[in-house]
């Protein structure tokens, strides 16, 4: 009884205060027709979504190159064809819907376009200026991001969880310790037989005669050449028992900063820098960065000593800034603009505010400073 009274009063109030609404819904048949149209549109979209399949990622389980065949080549072609910039062919074999299992010249060319499209993430870290057409781990890593984005978006739209993928773990120890179910997807990182790579150099600067160790992969059992730029080479370096290369900075090499890499019959390694300093040189110091906390694209100032009038290199957590001047030898300035924030819409209301610790070291012909720290807030 009480509820009936309350309900009746509510309806009375509703009609009393909402005359415009009453006018809007007066044509019931029109509204019902509109509802049916929307319902039809929803059903059509749902059918489209149901027809879409998550992109398989077996293509990420091995490196691919010209001449390879297999299901993963087909998947690679499908993925490349999903971007206009990397479409393999407009018509015929390799075109969207006509992908093949053969890694031919047109696939290679599409891979090159893909690599150059994402050069900053694929080529630059490897010291390359042009795409190679070889689908190695960097290319697979970028493909993986795109595949994951597609799959998670699709899964969300289809209201299902993303399908976990099988895990490939490398060492027997890992295989024993971790059940695959305990791992989310991981990029397969089997070390290729021809992998040749410098990891953590024991030193980054020093005068002639400095002993340096290059630990890494692919040096053992080889006659290795260590290159200091294109002009200086140290030949016939044999790896020690740990697989590292130990060598001394040769006499006759000029003071300066060199890109160094190792060459053997497997090919060329990645590059690491080394600064040949004058005898007795004092390396620069980076004491502090101001402001200690700053925003994106703001100017940071490094205070320290031993900076040169020109030719200083600032090595930040996100990238390298070369040839920075310091008129007084004590101050260096640069803008904080990490590449990983390029093309990121920070005005998106879903963007989470975060602070990123950053480190900077300064190098010049006298050596390399210890890192100084600041915070970049978004």
């Amino acid at each position: 009884m009480i509820s009936a009274v309350v309900g009746g009063a509510g309806i009375a109030v509703f009609f009393a205060v909402s005359p415009p609404l009453l006018a809007q819904i007066s044509d019931t048949s029109e509204i019902l027709q509109r509802i049916e149209e929307v319902r039809g549109e929803i059903m059509r979209l749902q059918q489209e979504l149901d027809g879409l399949q998550p992109v398989k990622t077996t293509l990420l389980s091995r490196n691919l190159k010209l001449g390879d065949t297999g299901e993963d080549v087909l998947e690679l072609q499908v993925l490349l064809n999903s971007f206009p910039q990397t479409r393999i062919a407009a018509t015929g074999l390799g075109s969207p819907g006509n992908e093949t299992r053969f890694f031919g010249v047109r696939t290679r060319d599409a891979v090159i376009r893909f690599q150059q499209w994402y050069a900053g993430e694929i080529l630059t870290p490897l010291g390359l200026n042009r795409g190679t057409g070889y689908v190695g781990f960097s290319t697979r890593a970028k493909l993986r991001v795109l595949v994951d984005q597609q799959n998670t978006s699709l899964a969300l739209a289809q209201n299902v969880a993303p399908t976990p993928e099988p895990v490939v773990v490398e060492s027997p120890r890992q295989r024993e310790e971790f059940a695959p179910s305990s791992f989310p997807p991981v990029v397969d990182e089997r070390i290729p037989e021809d992998y040749i790579h410098i990891t953590f150099p024991s030193a980054y600067f020093g005068p002639v005669g400095t002993e340096v160790t290059y630990p890494g992969y692919g040096f053992a059992g080889e006659s290795n050449t260590i290159n200091f730029g294109p002009l200086f080479q140290i030949d016939n370096i044999i790896a020690d028992s740990s697989g590292s290369l130990v060598f001394s900075i040769p006499a006759g090499i000029s003071v300066g900063t060199y890109e160094t890499w190792v060459t053997n019959k497997k090919g060329d390694s990645n590059t690491r820098f080394f600064i040949v300093t004058p005898e007795g040189a004092t390396p620069p110091t980076a004491m502090r960065v101001t402001p200690e906390t700053m925003g994106l694209n703001e100017q940071a100032t490094i205070y320290g000593s031993g900076f040169m009038p020109t030719g200083n290199t600032i090595r930040t957590s996100y990238g390298i800034i070369e040839n920075v001047p310091s008129p007084d030898g004590k101050v260096l300035s640069f803008n904080v603009s990490p590449p990983f924030l390029e093309n990121v819409d920070l005005s998106d209301p879903r963007a989470k505010r975060a602070g990123f610790p950053m480190w900077v070291s300064v190098s010049n012909n006298n050596g390399l400073s210890e890192p100084a720290q600041f915070m970049m807030n978004l």
Binding site: E121, A141, P164, F183, E189, P338
Partner: protein, 126 residues
Amino acid sequence: MIISNLIQKFPATALFIASFAVVFLFIPVQESKAIPVIPPFGGPIASVFYCLCSGNILLFIGPPIGGTYIYQPGASITFPFGQVYRPGAESLGLFAPGAGVCLVPTPFGCPPIPSVGLITQIGTSI
């Protein structure tokens, strides 16, 4: 005072409790066998991806122990040279499998991108 009164009133109970205490003193304490597994990772940083909705970073790391790992500012302990956002730097560290989440914006919301786990410690080359 209160304790001595209780002992006088309930001597048997007090003896019982005291004997338990003595016995427990000599029981060796065993460490928990559920030690969390904190496996290592390491390799060149291949690419860096910003997770807009979660405010952290997904690192793609190459061989020998690579994969996709989440770097969480404030939680991932970072050692020199701190080049964690620069592709090409060599990395070495520890991670917590399955922890952390990288959320990216899409038209459908902010779904997670799968990763191996959360970086707990990381050091890099320069």
